[in-house]
């Protein structure tokens, strides 16, 4: 607006938006991947990412770190949980039963070894059946390749908690793959 060039600072805003584009937009895949694994369907995941990106844009001033991916993933995660609380009719209602399913780690059977070698669909279902706190650490670690420290920052937990949840998540996933639950939605 040439009439009022002092009131606004387009240069600053341009730098701001260029910086957002340079730092945050490249993390769109990471944001969607986490949202997709949390929401477990494409439409909800797109809603979560859209909302998270708007929040990221809104609060980009508060981003002072060096790792925009960690920053954005924390926003995605928070967005998912707040949207989920606000839409209770949603299908996402697993209790966080961390202590249910006492872990019986009987060591690898031959079945485990073959099961793990095959079928991405089975793996996907098993991962989707994990409760969200376990699913998210596993997705962040194995798919997003975050370090424990990064996962701790994203999920706002202690590193020790991250480590024990990851151990639990893997034990649980291995158990699911070895003996899938009867009568459920097995493919």
């Amino acid at each position: 607006m040439p009439t009022d060039s002092h009131a606004i600072s387009p240069a600053t805003d341009n730098i701001h938006s260029a910086s957002f584009e340079a730092h945050v937009l490249p993390c769109l895949d990471a944001a969607y991947n986490l949202a997709r694994w949390l929401a477990r369907n494409d439409a909800d995941a797109q809603d979560v990412v859209q909302e998270a990106m708007l929040r990221a844009l809104r609060y980009f001033d508060s981003f002072h770190g060096t790792d925009a991916r960690v920053w954005l993933l924390a926003i995605v995660r928070n967005t998912y949980y707040t949207l989920r609380i606000k839409t209770p009719q949603g299908s996402l209602h697993e209790p966080l039963d961390e202590d249910a399913h006492a872990l019986v780690d009987a060591g690898p059977s031959p079945e485990t070894l073959t099961l793990l070698a095959v079928d991405i669909g089975t793996l996907q279902l098993a991962l989707e059946r994990l409760p969200p706190p376990l699913r998210e650490v596993l997705v962040l670690r194995e798919l997003e390749e975050c370090s424990y420290k990064e996962i701790a920052a994203i999920t706002e937990q202690k590193i020790g908690t991250v480590m024990s949840r990851l151990a639990r998540a893997r034990e649980r996933l291995k158990a699911e793959l070895t003996c899938p639950p009867q009568g459920g939605t097995s493919p």
Binding site: D29, D44, R141, L166
Partner: protein, 264 residues
């Protein structure tokens, strides 16, 4: 280190999060204890299985396009209602925020307007699409240096048949094609190389008979637009303006002919 210690620390070991002393203790234990070694082996396989690229969900095109720099400012309100299963609250917040953004950030608008005559949203869109195309695994949908492979690939994906020419002899080898979106419609993107640089050539049917060729420099990219034989073309690259002009000249001339014909 006991088997109980190992059971927990094994995961930190798998993730390369143990310090050197603990790693050494872990290695010793795994050499001695077959049960723990078998368990370690199983978890290694599990990790390998989870590393399959098929499990990683990349952002869908619709989302990516919504967050391309131009559309975010120019048409957020138009884009949003196209989503069917939007949670009402998220939708309201998103729309409200988009409106607030438009009201409070005139810089976005001035940024689009500041070029005066050259203010064509297609230029900005083409540049951001070009930049996006250079990000990992987005450049090409069909990889081929053969125009007779690239052209049929577009069949059924577009409502027009794009012109595909290999310009290898002119120093611009065709390396592949891709579907993209410019100006709210699906377009064909042909990817050419010039040495180590990438040239994106977008084309779609022209809706007017503007034939003048125009060239714009912005953010270090050169964009050349022209219309020919009912098709709209936009070439984008970070090669020198001279090189891109030469590319356009080569494309506009029939392949194989010396690129000497003067432009209109």
């Amino acid at each position: 280190m006991t088997c109980d210690d190992v059971k927990l620390l094994m995961h930190a070991y798998l993730d390369d999060e143990l310090d050197a002393a603990q790693s050494a203790a872990m290695i010793r234990h795994l050499q001695e204890c077959t049960a723990c070694a078998a368990s370690y082996d199983a978890y290694s396989r599990l990790r390998k299985a989870l590393a399959q690229p098929g499990l990683y969900h990349r952002a869908p095109e619709a989302l990516r396009e919504r967050w391309s720099p131009v559309q975010r400012t120019a048409e957020p309100v138009v884009m949003l209602p196209s989503r069917r299963r939007r949670a009402p609250l998220a939708y309201a917040m998103a729309a409200g925020f988009a409106a607030a953004l438009l009201l409070t950030s005139p810089a976005w608008i001035t940024a689009l307007r500041q070029r005066g005559v050259d203010n064509n949203p297609i230029v900005a869109e083409a540049i951001s699409s070009h930049i996006r195309s250079l990000q990992a695994q987005h450049l090409m949908d069909v990889v081929s240096t053969d125009q007779h492979t690239v052209k049929p690939w577009f069949e059924g994906k577009l409502d027009f048949s794009p012109r595909v020419k290999d310009l290898a002899r002119e120093g611009f080898p065709l390396i592949g094609g891709r579907l993209d979106a410019i100006d709210g419609r699906s377009v064909a993107a042909l990817i050419y190389k010039r040495h180590l640089h990438v040239i994106n050539l977008y084309q779609w049917p022209a809706d007017s008979s503007v034939t003048a060729q125009s060239e714009v420099q912005r953010h270090g990219y050169t964009v050349i637009r022209w219309t020919a034989e009912g098709m709209r073309y936009v070439a984008v690259s970070d090669v020198s303006a001279g090189d891109l002009k030469q590319f356009v000249l080569a494309f506009r001339n029939d392949a194989g002919m010396p690129a000497t014909r003067p432009l209109p």
